[in-house]
């Protein structure tokens, strides 16, 4: 475990209930300073509630939260002064221009009079929105609005950025652009906590991934370590009619292998260690999705 001073964010046994529903259930989470941690889970796993607790917009019923050394919720205002938040749902001021949106947050983050203009310029440059500075937000494309949300979260040079489903609903090209932007933040040493339900996003950007399901952290580790530990090196993907798939599952399980259904196929996990199996199918490297489904029993994008 990292030293106290090297931890950007720490949650210990955090629980949040909404009436009879436990949205987050005894969550332990750490974001070492300067790293990107991915919270991976399907919709309803408790990722957004976790994010809300980190900005004190939801108060934990149990457990301890510490952000940049500040205890929450008591010191959340200090913590928020040094955090940037990119929400899942767009909450930009749509009748304002790109620059005005950034300038408002330069005020809200208490930048000094002489700091605001350089901060806005820098944010515009990071998000590559300089040419659109005078464009009203309601005239921007979805990708540009997402970039502006990220720029807005960075206007005060935060030490920790909370990204809640940063690329949800975007087309693949725009998603790649945003990944490059997020990756550049990590390179600069900004600590990042990113919730996502995109496997590829977590694999590409996160140094460490915590898989969440039903409010709980199921497992935490580096993506490659998790894959190696839980899904082995290779997976055999067998396609066929339902009866054939059932037969393959039975054969694999009787041989001590684990399987998972992926729509029209069955994936037999850890096939590299299995001798004597004679199944027709396509071999592929194991990935984080295999780990996720094996550990949670849930599908994810």
């Amino acid at each position: 475990m990292a030293r106290q001073a090297d931890i950007a964010l720490r949650m210990r046994g955090v629980t949040k209930r909404f009436g009879p529903i436990t949205a987050v259930d005894g969550l332990d989470l750490e974001v070492p300073a300067g790293t990107c941690v991915g919270l991976l889970g399907p919709n309803g796993a408790g990722k957004s509630t976790t994010m809300k607790m980190l900005t004190a917009q939801a108060i934990a019923d149990e457990g301890e939260l510490e952000v940049l050394g500040f205890r929450l919720p008591g010191e959340s205002k200090q913590a928020r002064a040094e955090c940037g938040v990119v929400p899942q749902l767009d909450n930009l001021d749509t009748t304002l221009t790109v620059e005005q949106n950034l300038r408002v947050f330069a005020w809200l983050y208490r930048l000094g009079r002489h700091e605001r203009t350089p901060a806005v310029e820098r944010a515009l440059e990071i998000a590559n929105l300089g040419a659109r500075r005078d464009t009203r937000v309601d005239e921007l494309s979805g990708g540009m609005r997402r970039r502006l949300l990220i720029a807005r979260a960075l206007v005060h040079r935060p030490r920790l950025v909370l990204l809640d489903e940063p690329t949800v609903g975007l087309d693949p090209q725009v998603r790649q652009e945003l990944w490059a932007l997020i990756d550049s933040l990590r390179t600069e040493g900004v600590s990042i906590l990113m919730s996502t339900h995109y496997i590829e996003e977590a694999e590409r950007l996160a140094d460490t991934v915590t898989i969440m399901s039903e409010g709980k952290a199921v497992v935490t580790g580096r993506p490659t370590d998790l894959v190696a530990a839980h899904a082995g090196r290779e997976v055999l993907e067998v396609y066929g009619p339902p009866a054939r798939l059932a037969e393959v599952e039975q054969t694999a399980v009787s041989g001590g292998l684990r399987t998972r259904r992926t729509g029209t196929s069955v994936a037999v996990v850890g096939i590299e260690g299995a001798n004597g199996f004679d199944l027709d199918g396509a071999r592929r490297p194991a990935n984080l999705e295999d780990v996720f489904v094996l550990l949670t029993g849930e599908d994810i994008e």
Binding site: Q57, I59, F70, Q78, A81, R103, L108, R159
Partner: protein, 264 residues
């Protein structure tokens, strides 16, 4: 590395947080000031013209004043009410539920108390200004200007602050914008009955006159009228105190309700 580079502890109700929210409001206002100003000034002016010249032709004097002067000063209070309670209700609801503006603001170092305070302050400033529109119209139509009228924007501001906070409370309490009709019909509109805006409350039953003492709109009307026709020190101290009590109570209730709504 160290943790927590903010060395100064952040407190409640800090000016930088209020300034940030006010700046956002001001910059947004530049995109809708025409419609907001139109509705906040034209509507009470129409009331003034309709009642002043409609009833004015039938009733020459009310409470010792020309009716157009009486109703002109009453309409100032109406303008303050309209330009504060409705933005407090509708604008707050839209920003909270549809635009998610408050989620964005609360992610910055701003707390609910500061957010509500700044929102009410902004609406109150506008109410203080918009309240002067019917006064100017009344002056054009014969109300004698007096130097004490310089207090009217301040009266509008204090009253508007309370009404804005009341509107924010409604927005934080109601589940649907359609439910605002209940508040408008059952609370806001009946306030006119016991406020002395268009007719003096002395003609009302005694219980209604006592009820007026609990009506912040009545105290606003009294203060505005006395600013126009001459202050009554004892009565106006009570009127001002009543407005301040209303403002503080409505402000704290708005913070309480909004916190319950915004902080899960």
């Amino acid at each position: 590395m160290t943790v927590g580079t903010v060395t100064r502890r952040l407190h409640r109700l800090e000016w930088p947080a209020l300034a940030g929210v006010l700046y956002r409001e001001m910059i947004n206002f530049s995109s809708y000031w025409r419609s907001a100003t139109f509705s906040s000034t034209v509507e009470p002016t129409i009331y003034l013209l309709a009642f002043g010249f409609g009833f004015g032709s039938l009733v020459s004097k009310v409470g010792g004043y020309d009716y157009v002067e009486f109703v002109g000063t009453g309409t100032v209070a109406t303008a303050v009410l309209f330009s504060s309670v409705f933005p407090g209700m509708f604008s707050t609801f839209v920003k909270h539920r549809f635009q998610r503006t408050y989620d964005a603001i609360l992610a910055a170092p701003v707390d609910t108390e500061e957010l509500v305070t700044a929102e009410a302050l902004w609406i109150a400033i506008r109410a203080g200004v918009y309240g002067c529109a019917p006064l100017i119209v009344a002056i054009v139509f014969g109300l004698d200007p007096r130097w004490q009228m310089v207090f009217i924007p301040a009266i509008g501001f204090i009253s508007g602050y309370g009404w804005a906070a009341f509107g924010i409370t409604v927005a934080a309490t109601m589940k649907s914008i359609d439910n605002f009709s209940y508040v408008i019909s059952a609370v806001v509109t009946p306030l006119f009955l016991v406020a002395g805006t268009f007719f003096p409350i002395s003609g009302l039953p005694e219980w209604a006159q006592h009820l007026a003492q609990l009506n912040p709109l009545y105290h606003t009307v009294q203060l505005v009228r006395h600013a126009a026709f001459g202050f009554d020190a004892a009565a106006d101290l009570w009127n001002a105190a009543a407005l301040l009590i209303f403002g503080v109570a409505a402000w704290r209730i708005a913070i309480w309700r909004m916190s319950a709504r915004l902080i899960l």
